[in-house]
Symmetry: C2
Subunit: 163 residues, 2 copies
């Protein structure tokens, strides 16, 4: 039951604040990017974001450089975090208004599935303490084969054959 003051800040507002502390501006380009980034909760990489942005109807397009630059800034601002690598690309996801979690990564199709486990977080805390290590965060990637890829391949017309 905390006050709703902090809680209600949108990512865009948070970003504006962050930029202000650095004497930077919330330009139209940065606004477009943050809107697109927070328009859904999926993971993405820089390339995908460039594509999503180029599909928008906004009159203006945002250059690849600006996308890279802005993603780094969003990371610095604590709004995004890098969670994994895929196809030699950094994978980003929201790090604001979203609980800490980790990932199951399919080696076959590359899909990411989220999970959260409080016990693991707790153990990590303990381990850091035991090692006189000032904990700042962690990245846990669990590799294997996902449910989808475990399913035997669909045999087309199976049912028809049996008619």
């Amino acid at each position: 039951m905390l006050g709703s003051v902090e809680v209600s800040a949108t990512p865009k507002e948070k970003f504006r604040e962050f930029l202000a502390t650095k004497k930077m501006r919330l330009t139209p380009e940065r606004e477009i990017i943050i809107e697109e980034v927070f328009s859904d909760h999926e993971h993405f990489d820089a390339e995908e974001m460039v594509n999503r942005l180029s599909r928008r109807k906004d009159s203006k397009r945002v250059s690849r450089s600006t996308v890279y630059r802005t993603l780094s800034q969003l990371e610095e601002a604590g709004l995004l975090r890098r969670v994994a690598r895929n196809n030699d690309r950094e994978i980003y996801e929201h790090d604001y208004g979203y609980p800490q979690h980790d990932h199951l990564i399919c080696k076959k199709c590359g899909s990411l599935e989220e999970f959260h486990n409080e016990q693991i977080s707790e153990l990590i805390k303990q381990i850091a303490e035991q090692n006189t290590f000032l904990l700042e965060g962690h990245r846990l990637e669990v590799y294997g084969i996902c449910r989808q890829c475990l399913k035997p391949p669909v045999r087309r017309h199976r049912r028809l054959d049996m008619v």
Copy 2:
């Protein structure tokens, strides 16, 4: 108390077996590399391995390409695994005759410290099961500041000043 047959296989022997299954040969270059790789238990990246190899007194030098190619093969063979990234480089470590473990990674100095926690491994297994996910492995990187970097900077001549 298993038989000692499997247990005593050296990395080199294991590599030779792996290569045989692929109709590949254990060449002098590959031999030099695997010797150097297993000559100690430290983490390393490709660049470091190239340097270590060039320092060897062996008459022959191994080219960078061959190092990259061989590291990949060692990984495929289950003798090495990529455990992290540092300075945009993949970090390798032994994955044979060495217990599974994870890492504390210092954001300041980049040092890696190993730790092992059976409870975390166990939890990961459970999580995979719950998600119908065929577990193959995991990578847990814990970020923060290491013991060394937490120490206040050494003030030179402090003791002398006090004399």
